[in-house]
Amino acid sequence: MSIHPHVLIEGLSKRYGDGPSVLHGLDLEVSAGEFVSLIGPSGCGKSTILKLIAGLNPVTAGRLLVRGQAPEVARDRMAFIFQEPTLLPWLTVIRNIEILLRIRKVPRNRCLKIADGMLALVRLNHVRNHYPRQLSGGMKMRVSIARALSLLPELLLLDEPFGALDEMTRDHLNEELLDLRKDQNWTALFVTHSVREAVFLSNRIVVLAANPGRIHEVVEVPLTYPRTNETRDSNAYLRVVSEVSHVLRSVEGQ
């Protein structure tokens, strides 16, 4: 792990226009290679945090640095995975994976090579020339992940990417995500509503409280990687799930 935090947030506040504070006095450090999940009740600003880190929204007050730089400057080393797959419906799967590379003016041959590699990584070669509407929800999300990873990001921001999927598909994609991370070792900030998912994936879970959004508690996950389906049956896993659920309930009761 690097000495400097990958993401540094100090006294961060965010408000839209004259509205109330969405986030207030947020302090958080994420080290390189960490997998950190953000969990909390609706409206606590989880997605806002990701958008601020991505430089998609300006910070109202406080400091936010990614690799010691302003988010807008560090953008080319990040990738964002949205709640919806956000695939371009007029492009085939392979063209969807290529699109961000094309925007970054990567030569055509290299685009194709990287996209094919990513497609193989998410095991979707057989739908290479399909259009998004021909894919299942899980497949679409895998294409979305492949597209994000095609940028070879150092920091991956995931905004509830599996929220709309059934539990089995979600579990399966959680395992795939960790498999992919073994090869690329990006730092991840992951927003979710699922305690089970957060515990399975993360090194640390940041539990947020709402009105205004703030950090309530940070829970360490003392489970080793690799994590598999068996991990979900282990006592250690169930204990952390119980602990986080307890913290979350106390936040929601506030």
Partner: protein, 266 residues
């Protein structure tokens, strides 16, 4: 018969059947009401008039189509260009959109003589009137498509540091395509109406046959009511051809990926 087969047959049979009933009712009104042929000709008389006037109607239809196509194509190009400008910035929208609305609201009956004064009667005026009538749905639909692009997709492009041009060409334009094509569909039918209305007010037979709108004036003056009806049906036919061409383009461009074609694909 299985339900699917029934509906396939019904799709063809029912319009023919209801059409037959309308023709019967038409004859009944004419005969039972003892109406004069110059007031209400029968379908048979209309067909006879269409056959007798076929060469005139054919040339007139070609003239009208020329004006309509010219107006439509200009509307498709200018409308899309204007939509790009309107979508580019909110300031442009505030500055220009009210004027687009004014042009749309301006009555053709007033515009026609103005165009005749400016560019002379016949095709130049007719095409301009067809253009003015048909370009608003193109501008309105294309602008709507360009500005309502999925916010997450826009963020995705911003994350990749896409330029405004890349965002417009690779994201907003393809996203707006179905909207634009809907605008073109409406514009196609309006262009025909615009061309005929234009010929009615600014048409000319100089240098050849006048268009269908011009023929309406001639047949009306001669009290050839059956030929008037025949002109109307020829105009309908031209309109169908025109709109069908645009629908074909719609099918060609969207069938592979757009949800509106999902059922026919499966």
């Amino acid at each position: 018969m299985k339900p699917r087969e029934y509906w396939t047959c019904a799709r063809w049979f029912l319009p023919v059947f209801s059409g037959g009933l309308i023709v019967l009712a038409w004859y009944a009104v004419r005969i039972l009401g003892d109406i004069e042929p110059y007031v209400l000709p029968t379908p048979g008389e209309i067909i006879r008039a269409a056959v007798e006037e076929r060469s005139v109607l054919f040339s007139a239809a070609l003239t009208t189509l020329k004006g309509a196509v010219l107006g439509f194509l200009t509307a498709a190009l200018v409308g899309f260009g204007l939509a790009l400008v309107l979508a580019y910035s909110r300031s442009f929208r505030f500055a220009l959109y009210p004027h687009v609305l004014v042009v749309q609201m301006f009555p053709v009956i007033v515009l026609a003589p103005i165009f005749v004064l400016w560019v002379g009667p016949g095709l130049p005026s007719v095409a301009r009137i067809a253009f003015l009538i048909s370009f608003f749905p193109v501008v309105a639909n294309a602008t709507q498509g360009l500005i309502s692009t999925d916010a997450n997709m826009v963020d995705l492009f911003r994350m990749a540091n896409a330029s405004r041009l890349q965002e417009m060409l690779l994201l907003r334009v393809p996203f707006a395509l179905p909207f634009y094509l809907t605008g073109l569909r409406i514009a196609a039918s309006l262009a025909m109406i615009g061309a005929i209305a234009g010929e009615f007010f600014a048409g000319s037979s100089a240098g050849g046959t006048g268009g269908l709108g011009f023929m309406v004036i001639i047949y009306f003056a001669q009290l050839k009511t059956a030929a008037l009806f025949a002109t109307g049906f020829v105009a309908c036919l031209c309109g169908f051809l025109f709109v069908s061409t645009v629908l074909g383009l719609n099918w060609l461009l969207l069938r592979k990926w757009h949800d509106s074609f999902e059922r026919t694909d499966r």
